[in-house]
């Protein structure tokens, strides 16, 4: 019978399959339209512009650009630094994911929100913070005389700083819901602690780890601000080169070729990911996360917790602390001078039409709207993808991830040249900014929800259906409660990503409605101690806004003990 059941679950009948396909297509219509209109169209337009001259299409440029040795060098550096960053991030963050999933300790929620903060900081701010820590005259330089700012280590560390939360949240979210009894069963069968983890927990976590690794790789592959500031002239990623060619050399054709190369590379990575991961996602026993966490027991667990806390302090708290310190280090001694200056419309020497503090409200409104869009689009997509997947659906899955690997500069510029005329004239509409930000949020929503959705045992849905629940009711009463936690995590991600989005927003945000990162960048772009200090102050505010928002979201977690709602 057991054999039968496996096949039964996989093998739908033609009739049922037909209905399921129709439902899936309907679910996919919104995400597809969204991506077609707000991603494919703008990006295609900007790439097209690079290849077309008055004499028609010029594809000869592709070969020309690719044969340049320094471009090949850029491609090589982009790839290996992304790989190295991904491996390093996993090594550093997996113990963190375990600690956050399985241990309960005071201040855990605060700390979880804190490690997510780097994720929303504009890259320029992170670059500056790391320079202050490991660069000339930085903390390391003063104490030990060590400088990392011209080495690749600064880039890698900054990438770990950025992406720590990706691993902790995606992997930890699932880990907390894995039934510890499975591992206990393996222990009883004679497996050592590590062997039990490797044979039982790791395979179950596999899809989540792969998803996290994929996201980290894509982020670091398309890393821009960090490499720009910390890498110096010696290191450039494709994204940096695209920006240089577009904004500095005005060489649109070369930029278009590089955009395409990045596209191809990202597509390749996604294809490999899809092939390796799809068949490993299986039904798991999910339990209430509150029941799996316990205070650390014994010296080994305490040492692990201590090690993770130390890592978090050194890697995440220290750069953030430097930021805060600089924001308070006003000319007349420590104080809130820079913060006070942010209330004036004339701050930054006439850079702003409105007081920079108003950027807080702009950012919050935009981020809320973007989160709503990302949850709606990503939720529909995840629901469509969770069922039995064919080739077409897998392609759709990969499509949703593309925005992570495509230059935000390209997207923002593309928005400007395509969505400014009928039939879709959104130039003056406020929705343009949340749309661009949601584009980056959707992949997070999908990636966080999908592993959990696929892990829901299909027979639970069958049990509900036999009891008389319509498909919609099954989704609402079985799937949704089980993935609610994942939805909240996904919402947190989407919100944080929107809050920190810079590359595209800077192109399309109206001058009188800057977001926080845009305002910070504008301040940083002007010389002078006052501007620098205000930039640090505004970055600190951005940090706080993010941390508070995520904390509020954590509090929203529903009471698991109540059966009814």
């Amino acid at each position: 019978m057991v054999l039968d059941r496996r096949e039964v679950v996989r093998d739908g009948s033609p009739r049922e399959g037909g209905r399921a396909t129709a439902v899936r297509l309907a679910l996919m219509a919104v995400p597809l339209a969204f991506f077609g209109l707000f991603f494919a169209y703008p990006v295609a337009a900007i790439v097209g512009r690079g290849f077309r001259t008055d004499e028609g299409w010029q594809f000869g440029r592709i070969g020309e650009v690719l044969s340049q040795p320094d471009i090949a060098g850029v491609l090589w550096f982009t790839t290996w630094q992304a790989l190295a960053s991904t491996v390093l991030t996993l090594l550093v963050a997996l113990p963190g994911a375990y600690v956050f999933a399985r241990f309960s300790f005071p201040g855990k929620q605060l700390l979880r929100a804190l490690v997510t903060v780097p994720f929303v900081l504009p890259t320029v701010v992170v670059g500056t913070a790391f320079l202050a820590l490991v660069g000339r005259g930085g903390l390391l330089d003063e104490v030990w005389g060590v400088r990392l700012d011209t080495t690749v280590w600064a880039i890698l560390l900054a990438h770990v700083f950025f992406n720590y939360a990706v691993v902790v949240r995606t992997v930890g979210g699932l880990w907390a819901q894995l039934d510890p009894r499975q591992e206990e069963a393996a222990r009883v069968l004679g497996a050592g602690r590590f062997a039990a983890w490797r044979r039982v927990t790791l395979p179950a976590l596999g899809p989540a780890v792969a998803a996290a690794a994929l996201m980290v790789f894509l982020f670091t592959f398309s890393s821009f601000g960090v490499v720009q500031i910390l890498g110096g002239p010696g290191y450039a990623t494709l994204e940096v080169e695209v920006y240089r060619q577009t904004a500095q050399l005005l060489d649109l054709p070369t930029a278009a070729v590089l955009t395409l190369v990045q596209f191809a590379a990202v597509g390749l990575v996604l294809a490999v990911h899809a092939r390796t991961v799809r068949r490993r996602e299986t039904a798991l026993r999910l339990v209430d996360p509150a029941r799996t966490a316990h205070p650390p027991r014994g010296w080994a667990q305490r040492a692990l917790l201590g090690g993770v806390l130390l890592t978090v302090v050194l890697l995440i708290v220290a750069p953030l602390a430097v930021l805060v310190e600089r924001s308070l280090d006003a000319p007349g001694g420590y104080g809130f001078g820079f913060y006070r200056a942010l209330q004036e419309a004339g701050a930054g020497g006439g850079t702003f039409l409105v007081p920079p503090l108003e950027a807080i409200w702009n950012s919050l409104q935009y981020a809320l709207a973007a989160t709503a869009i990302a949850l709606a689009v990503g939720g529909l997509a995840a629901a469509a993808l969770a069922r039995r997947a064919g080739r077409f659906v897998r392609g759709f899955d990969a499509l949703l991830m593309l925005p992570l690997g495509v230059s935000a500069v390209t997207v923002g510029f593309g928005f400007l040249i395509t969505l400014d005329r009928p039939p879709l004239d959104l130039r003056t509409s406020w929705i343009l900014v949340p749309l661009a930000q949601a584009l980056v949020g959707v992949p997070f929503v999908v990636r966080t929800m999908l592993p959990v959705l696929r892990a829901v045992d299909g027979r639970l849905r069958e049990a509900a259906a036999v009891l008389g629940a319509s498909p919609l009711r099954v989704w609402r009463e079985v799937d949704l409660p089980l993935v609610r936690r994942a939805v909240l995590i996904a919402a947190g991600f989407a919100f944080a990503v929107s809050l920190g989005e810079f590359g595209a927003t800077v192109f399309i945000a109206r001058p009188d409605h800057p977001t926080l990162p845009v305002a910070v960048a504008r301040l940083l772009g002007r010389a002078g101690e006052m501007n620098y200090g205000q930039a640090m102050a505004l970055s600190t505010i951005l940090m706080l806004v993010c941390a508070v928002s995520l904390l509020v979201l954590e509090r929203l977690r529903p009471d698991k003990t109540s059966g009814e709602f």
């Binding site: 019978m1 057991v2 054999l3 039968d4 059941r5 096949e7 039964v8 093998d11 739908g12 009948s13 033609p14 009739r15 049922e16 999910l286 339990v287 209430d288 029941r291 045992d457 027979r459 639970l460 069958e462 049990a463 509900a464 259906a465 036999v466 009891l467 008389g468 629940a469 319509s470 498909p471 009711r473 009463e477 079985v478 409660p481 089980l482 698991k560 003990t561 109540s562 059966g563 009814e564």
Partner: protein, 340 residues
């Protein structure tokens, strides 16, 4: 009146027919048990009736209405899953109330029903308990209450007592029997355990490789297995080839008397252990092992000729291992089966 009727139901996975042209009828208020080894297609049969699995061919009729195209949630049947599949995010009350709420029942109404059902399955007042805190037997009871709650016209049970310990099992069989007859529920259960099937069912259907091997009352099936497969599945090992003629059969054990009116010719022969009796003269055997079975002793004998023989005898008269004995056969315990 016939409540459920299957006509030529076939389910194929690839080229393999898991359910092969099955015809079955279940009358109202009847309890039918489908009995078969693992992989005989019995669970798939239940899934077809529930609408969770579309048949490759054939029809499912409930109260005379063809169910093709009727989605799972509109069939009005109940299914208790083998591993319960209780909703982990709901408490006991939430699980039992699920089907009632899905059918639009209002809160005060269903709360009352949930309370009475929990009482019925022996878990009064368990509404607020978490599903994870239940023992296997308690989960089974909650699953049963959940399946019964919407008063399905047909209740299907997949290995209803599969994972329970023996004492609980025997008690539950009695309880279920009483419950079903009191509620007038029509039940279709599948199990691989013959004891369970015989205890629960008004009618037993034995399945083999997706086909029905025999159907009948428990007594009929027990007394007259239709084939060697059924006989062996029921636990009988004394089956040998035989040539039947004139009231006796020639077997490897020698001449065995058969009941009057048995078919003649090349056959298979079943001798139930109760039909192998110790006697002063007859087939000489050595006692290989003896197992105490409570009411009797089961003997495994090594005869002078032919395969091993299972026999039963009284507690007091049981020979010791290694003893030489002689056995004779009682015709009423002999069944002539079709040739394999």
């Amino acid at each position: 009146m016939t409540l459920l009727r299957l006509e030529g139901v076939t389910v194929r996975f690839g080229d393999r027919a898991v359910v092969d042209a099955v015809d079955l009828e279940v009358a109202e208020h009847e309890t039918v048990c489908v009995l078969g080894p693992s992989g005989s297609g019995k669970s798939t049969l239940l899934r077809v009736v529930a609408g969770l699995q579309q048949p490759s061919a054939g029809r499912v009729l409930l109260a005379g209405a063809d169910q093709a195209g009727v989605p799972v949630h509109r069939r009005g049947v109940g299914l208790m899953f083998q591993d319960h599949q209780l909703f982990p995010h709901r408490d006991v009350g939430g699980n039992v109330a699920f089907g009632l709420r899905a059918r639009g029942s209002a809160k005060p109404e269903y709360e009352e029903r949930v309370a009475s059902l929990l009482e019925l399955v022996g878990l009064p007042g368990a509404q607020r308990r978490a599903v994870a805190s239940l023992s296997g037997g308690e989960q089974q009871r909650v699953a049963l209450a959940r399946a019964l709650a919407p008063s399905p016209r047909l209740l299907m049970l997949d290995e209803p007592l599969g994972q329970l310990d023996r004492g609980l099992r025997e008690r539950l069989v009695v309880e279920l029997q009483g419950l079903f007859s009191r509620l007038g529920t029509t039940v279709l259960a599948v199990t691989h355990d013959q004891g369970e099937a015989f205890a629960l069912a008004d009618r037993v259907v034995v399945m083999r490789d997706g086909r029905i091997a025999q159907a009948g009352t428990p007594l009929e099936v027990w007394q007259r297995p239709a084939s060697e497969f059924v006989a062996r599945f029921l636990g009988f090992e004394n089956v040998v080839p035989a040539t039947v003629s004139g009231g006796a059969a020639a077997t490897p054990w020698g001449k065995v008397p058969v009941p009057a009116g048995s078919p003649e010719g090349e056959r298979r022969l079943l001798v139930r252990p109760a039909g192998v009796v110790l006697s002063a003269a007859g087939l000489g055997c050595v006692v290989e092992s003896r197992t105490f079975r409570g009411t009797h002793v089961a003997l495994l004998l090594r005869p002078e000729a032919g395969p091993a023989l299972e026999a039963e005898c009284d507690l007091t008269a049981a020979p010791a291992v290694g003893d030489r004995v002689a056995v004779a056969f009682t015709p009423s315990e002999v069944v002539v089966l079709p040739a394999a």
